[in-house]
Amino acid sequence: MSSALDLRDLHVTIAGSHVLQGVTFDVPQGGVTALLGRNGVGKTTTLRAILGLVPSTGDIRVLDHDVSGMATHRITRIGVAYVPEDRDVFSGISVNQNLRLAEQIADPRYDEVYALFPELKTRGKQLAGTLSGGQQQMLSIARALLNRWPLMLVDEPSKGLAPKLVTEFAAVLERAAESATVLLVEQNLSVVRRLAHRIVILDHGEVVHIGEASDLGDETFVRGLLGVGGAS
């Protein structure tokens, strides 16, 4: 197997707006690859296109399977876990029911999930919509970890969270990346520097840079492509 994920000439148009304009990059096996860029350049759309959640053209290969045009649930079952940008836990059902829905293998890794997030066990019967933002993020990541899927698509896990929680979630993803390939969309560059070994930068719906995470040490480079200070 050459790479965990391979995108070639990916185009997405949403409501007349050409959001992705020929995105091409691959994600090698193992570790964390960060997908970076300013707000609105198409990072989330790229993840959604990989999962078939938005219509796209181009070639998408996931774990050596051509998934172009495939239904979302079939793509997931190839071995893709997804942590969406806004957690998207199901607020009207319980924590336990949220986890049960995510089960796709005979022996889901509840022991590991509860070891990482003990609160999910004690709050099992609580409606997910009544959890705090941090607890909802725990649940969202827990759903992604249950099945030992080899590829994880993780969209801004630190968004809206307190610094202490960001550090905790970064540690969890670091551990997850020991056994899975992670494609991480993240605005928090300190998290990216800690986790990622490789970066892909998007701008105006196109890939403008592919390199090592160490490239983020260059202040001018970071300001030029991401529009933020290198220390953020």
Binding site: G52, A71, H73, G92
Partner: protein, 301 residues
């Protein structure tokens, strides 16, 4: 007082019929974003399926078994029609909600025309056991037996649906899908199966409602347009209850049916006021939407 109690009981029975029609419709909209205008045809098909069975089963079977089989026939007739509709007409149009709505409107018109072609536009009568057309007297209050069936069916279906939605995996998938079906798919779940299941449930309940409406409110007569006559109130129940909410549909069905019955009885006898019951329902819809634009219980299945 006895009149008031009779009207109230009749209103609750009508609520049972409205709820049966609305339960599937609200789940279909909540999960699939489709306003299913063919629900009226499923209601009518259920009634005609019951009529056909009651007509062709030998009387030696007995009137009660024939009636019970007619109930089963109405449920299966509605479920089959809805299942075939979803697989053949709706599924190829996923992602095109406007086309799906137009298909259901066309299907409804086509089924009504087909039924008129087969059975004529005049009403036909279903044979029912004597008890169904009788009444139970409690003191001064006269309660039609058919209304007991409509009310009982509504309550049983409400409790069963609540249990199904809360305790079974498919029920939980449907509730989660009403909230965010994209995320359900992203967890590896085939939402298409849930779509078909919801359509079949909706059709089965519509078919049952068609038969119960026939025996409780239509003097045992079936007509090709009876489903469409119910459909307008069904949509109002769904919107007032909150699109996607079963509990909302139940509460709205009770409120709307009681209001309709009370206004019809107490105000409908005035010259020119014969439609006051229908008018009151539309006014209630306007008031609820102005106060709670997403209905009483928004999208909580």
């Amino acid at each position: 007082m006895s009149t008031f109690l009779s009207i109230t009981f009749s209103g609750l029975a009508l609520a049972g019929v409205y709820f049966l029609c609305a339960a599937g419709l609200t789940l279909i909209f909540g999960l699939m974003d489709i306003l299913n205008f063919a629900q009226g045809a499923f209601i009518t098909l259920g009634a005609y399926a019951a009529y056909e069975l009651s007509l062709h089963l030998p009387m030696s079977v007995g009137t009660v078994p024939i009636f019970l089989l007619a109930i089963v026939g109405a449920i299966i007739g509605g479920a089959l029609a809805a299942g075939i509709t979803e697989v053949v007409l709706i599924r190829p149009l996923y992602g095109r909600p406007m086309s799906q709505v137009l298909v259901t409107i066309g299907l409804d018109l086509a089924i009504v025309a087909l039924l008129e072609g087969i059975f004529g536009s005049n009403e036909v009568a279903i044979s029912v056991p004597t008890w169904v057309n009788g009444a139970t007297h409690i003191g001064q209050v006269v309660l039609p037996n058919a209304a007991f069936l409509a009310l009982g069916a509504g309550v049983i279906v409400l409790v069963s649906l609540e249990m199904f939605l809360r305790r079974t995996r498919y029920g939980i998938i449907i509730r989660a899908g009403v909230e965010n079906r994209g995320m359900v798919s992203a967890l590896g779940i085939d939402v298409g199966r849930a779509f078909t299941l919801v359509f079949v449930i909706g059709g089965a309940l519509a078919g049952l409602a068609g038969l119960l409406n026939t025996i409780a409110f239509n003097s045992d007569f079936v007509t090709p347009i009876q489903g469409d006559s119910l459909l307008i109130f069904t949509f109002i129940v769904v919107v007032v209850g909150g699109l996607g909410s079963i509990r909302g549909a139940a509460v709205a069905a009770v409120g709307i049916a009681l209001l309709q019955n009370y206004t019809n009885y107490y105000l409908g006898n005035h010259p020119g006021w014969s439609q006051v019951g229908n008018l009151s329902v539309v006014l209630l819809l306007a008031v609820v939407l102005s106060v709670r634009p997403r209905g009483l219980f928004a999208s909580v299945a």
